[in-house]
């Protein structure tokens, strides 16, 4: 589409959508991040495609069970540091209507988008539709873990829908895959688009065996058992098939010499065809090393120089609620979102990294609303056995706080260290904080809707910003 042309249908839907968003925010019903998209969609179903083609540097799409919000925020920060104007569904509203709303929000009433590159975080189920509409230049596939299966059906269903859309991509598209995930490699093995492989070479961070939460222990192609030369996180690692001989392909971008500094930050080296690059990452945990590697690979493929990439990753601050540090009264609270077994395992790994045990009082908040997954059985795939040792006390709350408390008991945590609190989050927060000694640190680990509710309560107390203001 020509930038100067005027499309009345596009303009009307943009204006209507913007009005809806403003109205929602004015009446105080929240951020209004998805409803405007519904309105715009109905008025002009071709809107996303029209706006996408206006972007001078094209658009990129980020998908995967874990890390997509953090990774797309890292990418957006890097592109912005590269002096590009970024259009991004930054709040993490990642279904088609959320993406439409975010694009509309950054478009003039005349229908001209105010940006030159698009960063789109895509929900797993929405990825095929978003790719069709946006026709991105680069697609990043981070990982596929067992998530909220009651929402998506089984992992196979998502994998099949991704495989189908990847087959339709033209040769000009670049697909960046985390090659440590055998499923993503199998899905992209014979596509026309260019494939770039990323992964870890990190002897110092190996797991001894597959965690219970891990999904795919069998070869996606022949069904034989998978072996690992090195296993890093859930089922991610340097894999090979014991049957057909498939193995992790050579890496175009590899992260090595990874040094995790507790719950603070991470140092690592990224090697590509041009050489080795020292990178510091402003967020902790091995999972964020994966996110940073992915973000760096995307930016590099988009043509951004390493002297822009590295400082941006070092300065990176996490997305709301993912990892957030909050000072409350005289207490230091670290809040980390937990939304599925793999993510939860990695958070526990990070919190116990220094001493091998949980050092601070910790409150776990588990809800079972749609966005959390209505099935709380995923808690049984998290290795809470890590918490059995040590003397950090554990508090539970949320709609399914009782399930959480029971889970801890069966993980071998002595009942004297388990404190079930009221399911009402704000009251539970007060009771928890009262138990944290003056000047001490504490952890809060909420599921998704528990995190939103807790943040709202903290925002009402003036402690954190409301997320659509970030």
């Amino acid at each position: 589409m020509n930038k100067s042309s005027f499309d009345p249908r596009l303009a009307i839907s943009v204006m209507s959508a913007r009005f809806t968003g403003t109205a929602i925010r004015l009446v105080g019903k929240g951020g209004g991040t998805a409803a405007p998209g519904l309105v715009a969609e109905r008025l002009d179903p071709g809107l996303l495609t029209k706006l996408g083609t206006q972007l001078e540097h094209g658009a990129l799409v980020v998908a995967g069970t874990n890390g997509k919000t953090t990774t797309s925020r890292m990418i957006a920060d890097i592109l912005q540091a590269n002096s590009w104007k970024v259009v991004h569904n930054r709040s993490g509203s990642n279904l088609v209507r959320g993406v439409v709303a975010a694009f509309v929000d950054q478009t003039s009433n005349g229908g001209h988008i105010r940006g030159d590159v698009g960063v789109v975080e895509a929900d797993e189920a929405a990825l095929p539709e978003l790719i069709k509409r946006i026709q991105p230049r680069v697609i990043l596939l981070n990982n596929l873990f067992r998530d909220q299966l009651d929402r998506y059906g089984e992992l196979d269903t998502i994998a099949k829908s991704w495989a189908k859309v990847l087959q339709t991509l033209p040769a000009e598209t670049t697909v960046i895959v985390n090659a440590d995930d055998q499923t993503l490699v199998a899905l992209s093995d014979d596509i026309r688009a260019r494939r770039i492989c990323i992964g870890l070479n990190s002897a110092e961070h190996q797991l001894e065996s597959l965690p219970h939460a891990a999904d795919a222990a069998v070869c996606r192609v022949c069904g034989a058992d998978l072996g690992y030369r090195a296993l890093y996180l859930s089922h991610l690692g340097e894999w090979y098939c014991t049957g057909c001989g498939r193995e992790r392909p050579p890496l175009d971008f590899a992260a090595s010499d990874i040094h995790l500094h507790g719950d603070q930050h991470t140092d690592m080296t990224i090697t590509d065809t041009t050489g080795s690059h020292q990178v510091q990452v402003g967020v902790p945990g091995l999972y964020n090393a994966y996110n940073a590697l992915a973000a760096a690979a995307v930016a590099s493929v988009m043509g951004v120089a390493w002297d822009v990439i590295s400082p941006t990753l070092a300065a990176f601050q996490s997305a709301f609620g993912r990892i957030e540090r909050i000072a409350y009264q005289d207490k230091q609270i670290t809040m980390a979102l937990v939304k599925n077994p793999t993510g939860f395992n990695e958070v526990l790994r990070m919190l116990t990294a220094e001493t091998g045990a949980l050092a601070h009082p910790t409150m776990i908040c588990i809800n079972d609303l749609d966005a959390d997954g209505r099935d709380v059985s995923w808690l049984w795939d998290v290795d809470f056995e890590l918490l059995a040792q040590g003397d950090g006390h554990l508090y539970t709350t949320g709609i399914r706080g009782a399930d959480m408390a029971n889970r801890l008991k069966y993980a071998g945590v002595p009942v004297e260290r388990i404190h079930p609190l009221t399911s009402e989050l704000a009251d539970a927060f007060d009771a928890f904080i009262a138990d944290v000694p003056a000047g001490a640190s504490a952890y809060i680990l909420p599921s998704y809707t528990a995190m939103l509710k807790l943040r709202k309560s903290l925002a009402d107390r003036g402690v954190v910003q409301e997320f659509w203001e970030q």
Partner: protein, 241 residues
């Protein structure tokens, strides 16, 4: 009697373990341990024979890809060994995919029928919709049981196999006849994920007692435990619809 022990056989633990089903093995093992009973867990994987000293079998659910491979593996001697153990009084809990393959068979949407081993007089076929949500049932043997179902297979019981209970909330075996699960001798099959046993400790203890009876040939009283957290989780789950 001192130094009691039990052997738990976990069928296809690495291939069929979905929706937290491993929590059932954890519950059996912990509740035995808390009473000073040594409970050894043995995983029985693909190509591995059924040991002849299993007191309690557990078989969880799996994704489609895994279920096809497992159905092939269980046919023949392996299935016969499980059937013989159940006839001999061994306890068994199976959920979802495991439950289906313990009947006469499972007919998927596409592809050939997966034959089962016929412990339960039951037949399962893939249905048009997926039943997803919290379930509560009333069982004549166990009283209230709570779990979470997530299946498209429809199971119908026949002959000597009786339902585990009556559905109070949710869909159960097939969404039409109001039944959920199956029970035959000391073998139970059902669609209750959750995990099931940790928040239904009365069912866990029944399986442990049956397992001990199988090993020692006599009734052995289980020491009572403090189940406050377990029943808080049970009651809490009953409020979720």
């Amino acid at each position: 009697m001192t130094d009691l022990r039990l052997v738990i056989g976990w069928l296809y633990g690495s291939k069929m373990n979905i929706y937290g089903d491993r929590g059932n093995v954890v519950a059996l093992q912990q509740r035995a341990r808390w009473r000073g009973i040594d409970a050894e867990v043995r995983e029985i994987g693909m190509g591995e024979a059924i040991p002849d000293d299993i007191d309690i079998f557990f078989w969880g659910g799996g994704q489609d890809q895994e279920q096809v491979a497992v159905a092939k593996d269980i046919a023949g001697a392996k299935g016969d060994a499980i059937k013989a153990a159940v006839e001999n009084g061994a306890a068994l809990l199976s959920i979802c995919g495991g439950y289906q393959l313990l009947g006469h068979g499972y007919q998927p949407h596409d592809g050939e029928m997966l034959p089962g081993i016929g412990v339960f007089d039951a037949m399962s076929v893939a249905g048009p919709t997926r039943f997803i949500g919290n379930v509560s049932i009333e069982s004549p043997t166990f009283g209230s049981l709570v779990g979470f179902e997530n299946h498209s297979g429809l199971t119908t019981l026949q002959g000597e196999t009786t339902p585990l209970g009556k559905v109070l909330h949710g869909h159960g075996n097939n969404g039409t006849d109001g039944t959920e699960g199956a029970i035959y001798m000391n073998a139970i099959g059902c669609y209750l994920h959750g995990a099931l046993l940790p928040k239904n400790p009365h069912l866990t203890d029944w399986l442990l007692a049956a397992g001990l009876h199988h090993r020692y040939g006599q009734e052995i009283n289980l020491e009572g435990l403090d189940d406050t957290l377990e029943y808080q989780a049970h009651e809490n789950a009953l409020t979720r619809t």
